[in-house]
C-alpha cells in the first residue's frame, strides 16, 4: 500500500529524528492520534519495530495456510471444503496485504520472505502445532482465529496508517473465519460419540497453545512499553489474553466441552475467568524452533519457493522479451 519506490530506505537523514526535539514532535503527533504515513519522518526504531511486527504478521498468515491447508482435500462435505478453501485463501490474501504494508517501510517483500525462509524471522508459534483430525479445523477457526481477532481489532487503530488500513480489511474479511470454525465445533458436539470425542480432543490440544498466542506475560515482555507509547499496541498481552478467555469459556460451555484447565474458575468479584499456569517453557521451545512442526513448516515454504523459481524466472524473462520487442517495433 503506497509505493515502495517513494520510500527511501532508512537513510542517513533518519538518525536526526533520534534528536530529543524531533522525537518529541513525533510523539506529539502520535499522542494527537495522527496517523503516520510511509513518507513521513519517523524514528528509525519505530520503522524497525513496525517492519518486524508487520512482516511477522504476514509470515504468520502465510505459514498459517499450511496446518489448515492440510485438511482441504479431506474436508468431510463439499460445503466445508469450499468454506475451508476460501478461508485458507483469505489467509494468503491477508499475508499479501500485510507484506504490502510492510514494504511501505522500505524493506522489499523478497527480503522479508527471505528472512522467513532462512529461519531468521519469527511467525506465530501456534502454526507449529499439527492438525490431526477434522475437529482441529473447527478448533483453529474458533480458537486461533478468535485469539487473532482479539489481537487484530486494536491494530485497526495502530498509529501507522498502512498497517491500520490493512488490518481493517483483514478484520472485515476474517469475521467469517471464527464463525466457520465454531459452526464445525457445534456440529461435532451435537454429533455422535466419535465426533464429540474428536471435538474434545481438539480443544484439549489447542487451548493452551492459543493462550500462548498473546505472547509472554506483561512482566516478561520486552517490546511492549515502547510499542504502547507509539500506539502500535493498545492493550497488553495479559489484557488481551484475559479478554479471550472471558469470551471463550462460555462458548466452550455451550458446546458441552471441558476446558483442559483444572484451575479455571470464575471470579465473581472481578467478573473474569481465572486460568491456570501457562507452560512458558513450551512456548519458548516452540519459538526457538522446537515445536512439533517448525521444521515441516519451513521446509514446505522453502519447497514451494524453490520449485516455483523457474516459473518466476519464466514470467520475468517473458516480460523482458516483450519489452524488448516493443522497443524494437
Amino acid at each position: 500500500m503506497y509505493t515502495q519506490a517513494l520510500n527511501a530506505k532508512p537513510d542517513a537523514g533518519e538518525p536526526q529524528l533520534e534528536d530529543a526535539a524531533l522525537l518529541e514532535a513525533f510523539q506529539a503527533r502520535i499522542d494527537a492520534e495522527d496517523r503516520i504515513e510511509p513518507n513521513d519522518r519517523m524514528p528509525a526504531a519505530y520503522r524497525k519495530t513496525l517492519t518486524r511486527q508487520i512482516s511477522q504478521h504476514a509470515h504468520s498468515e502465510i505459514v498459517g495456510m499450511l496446518p489448515e491447508g492440510n485438511w482441504i482435500t479431506r474436508a468431510p462435505s463439499l460445503r466445508r471444503k469450499a468454506a475451508l478453501l476460501a478461508k485458507v485463501q483469505d489467509e494468503c490474501g491477508h499475508g499479501l496485504y500485510l507484506y504490502a504494508a510492510a514494504e511501505t517501510l522500505g524493506t522489499s517483500r523478497e527480503e522479508l520472505v527471505d528472512q522467513l525462509l532462512t529461519g531468521k524471522a519469527k511467525y506465530s508459534s501456534i502454526f507449529n502445532y499439527p492438525t490431526l483430525t477434522w475437529a482441529d479445523i473447527g478448533a483453529i477457526g474458533w480458537l486461533v482465529d478468535g485469539a487473532a481477532i482479539m489481537n487484530q481489532i486494536p491494530l485497526c487503530r495502530c498509529s501507522y496508517g498502512p498497517y491500520a488500513r490493512a488490518m481493517i480489511r483483514v478484520c472485515k474479511e476474517e469475521s467469517f473465519h471464527q464463525r466457520q470454525g465454531y459452526e464445525i465445533m457445534v456440529t461435532l458436539s451435537k454429533g455422535n460419540e466419535a465426533q464429540r470425542e474428536m471435538a474434545q480432543d481438539a480443544l484439549n490440544r489447542w487451548w493452551w497453545p492459543c493462550l500462548m498466542m498473546f505472547g509472554p506475560p506483561d512482566a516478561a515482555s520486552q517490546h511492549s512499553d515502547q510499542s504502547t507509547k507509539w500506539k502500535i499496541k493498545r492493550f497488553s498481552n495479559d489484557e488481551l489474553r484475559q479478554k479471550f478467555v472471558d469470551a471463550t469459556v462460555p462458548q466452550a460451555h455451550y458446546l458441552g466441552l471441558t476446558l483442559p484447565d483444572p484451575d479455571l474458575k470464575f471470579n465473581e468479584q472481578t467478573g473474569h475467568w481465572e486460568y491456570g499456569a501457562i507452560d512458558w517453557d513450551e512456548f519458548k521451545q516452540v519459538i526457538a524452533g522446537n515445536g512439533p512442526c517448525n521444521r515441516d513448516r519451513l521446509a514446505a515454504r522453502n519447497k514451494a519457493h524453490a520449485e516455483g523459481a523457474w516459473v518466476r524466472e519464466a514470467a520475468l524473462a517473458y516480460a523482458e522479451k516483450r519489452h524488448a520487442r516493443k522497443a524494437a517495433a
Partner: protein, 257 residues
C-alpha cells in the same frame, strides 16, 4: 451404516454427474496447490479457480439428486461413489505435476468448458441452462488466466518451454475424451437438453492453437486418444484422490458434518 451408493443412472442423471465429476475432480486437484504455489499471487488464483469448479460441482450434484428423485444430496454423490462410479474424463484426474502441467491441464479443460457451457445456455433444461450461464463466465476467466500463463511459460525461458511442451505432449491424448458422446447422450442432444460435443471440437482446436502459437508451442496432431472415464474406467490416480477426499466420511459413517 452408510456404504457406496448405486446411482440410478438415467440419461439425465448420468449426463449431469459426468459434468459434476469433471468439475469436482479438477477443483480438488487445484485445491491441492493451496499454500504451495510458485508465488502467493498464484495461490490466490488457483484457489479462486478451484472454488469456481467446486461450486459448479455442487450445483450439478444437487440437480442430479433431484433428477434421480431418490433424495440424494451433493455429498452422497461426492463421498459415497467409488472410482468405478465416478464419471469424469481422465484429463481432470491427472496429477498436478509441476506448475506447467497444472496450468496446461486447466487450459485444455477451460477452453472446452467455456465453449460447452456457452452452448448449454440454450439447453431446454432450465436448471442446466442456469448453471451454464454462471459457469460460462467462470470458465471464460479460467481460459484467460491459464492462457496468459501458457504464453509466459512457452515463451519464457528454455526450461519453462521444455516443461510446458512436455506437459502438452503428455496431456494431449486425454483431450479426445472431452468430445466423446454415447447413445444416452445423443438422445439428450436430440431432445435439446444436451449439446453436440462434436460440433465444438474444431472451435476448441482453433482457440487452443491460437494461444499455443503465441506461446511458441506446436499443437500436437490428434493421435491415439485415451478414454474410459465416462464409463468409470479411470487411471490409477483417481482412487488415491477419492481415498483422500472421502476419508473422514468413511471413517465415521452416518455422521453429520
Amino acid at each position: 451404516m452408510a456404504k457406496t451408493i448405486r446411482v440410478n443412472e438415467t440419461p439425465l442423471v448420468l449426463y449431469t454427474l459426468r459434468r459434476a465429476d469433471d468439475a469436482l475432480i479438477l477443483g480438488h486437484r487445484l485445491s491441492e496447490w493451496c499454500g504451495h504455489a510458485p508465488m502467493m499471487e498464484e495461490d490466490m488464483a488457483l484457489a479462486n479457480m478451484a472454488l469456481d469448479l467446486i461450486g459448479q460441482a455442487r450445483s450439478l450434484y444437487t440437480y442430479a439428486g433431484e433428477a434421480e428423485g431418490g433424495g440424494r444430496t451433493e455429498d452422497d454423490f461426492a463421498y459415497w461413489r467409488d472410482e468405478r462410479g465416478y464419471r469424469n474424463v481422465l484429463l481432470v484426474e491427472q496429477q498436478n505435476g509441476d506448475f506447467a502441467r497444472t496450468i496446461l491441464r486447466q487450459f485444455l479443460y477451460a477452453h472446452f468448458a467455456d465453449l460447452y457451457w456457452r452452448a448449454m445456455m440454450a439447453s431446454k433444461d432450465a436448471t442446466l441452462a442456469a448453471i451454464a450461464a454462471k459457469s460460462e463466465k467462470e470458465m471464460a476467466y479460467h481460459v484467460r488466466h491459464a492462457g496468459e500463463w501458457v504464453i509466459r511459460l512457452g515463451d519464457g525461458t528454455a526450461e519453462s518451454h521444455a516443461r510446458i511442451a512436455a506437459a502438452l505432449e503428455d496431456l494431449w491424448p486425454y483431450t479426445g475424451e472431452l468430445f466423446e458422446m454415447d447413445a444416452s447422450e445423443k438422445a439428450l442432444v436430440d431432445a435439446g437438453i444436451a449439446v453436440d460435443l462434436s460440433a465444438l471440437r474444431e472451435r476448441w482446436r482453433a482457440n487452443v492453437k491460437a494461444v499455443l502459437d503465441e506461446a511458441t508451442l506446436t499443437t500436437p496432431a490428434d493421435g491415439w486418444m485415451q478414454k474410459g472415464g465416462r464409463t468409470g474406467i479411470h487411471s490409477e490416480h483417481l482412487g488415491h484422490l477419492l481415498a483422500e477426499l472421502q476419508h473422514v466420511q468413511h471413517t465415521i459413517p452416518g455422521a453429520v458434518w
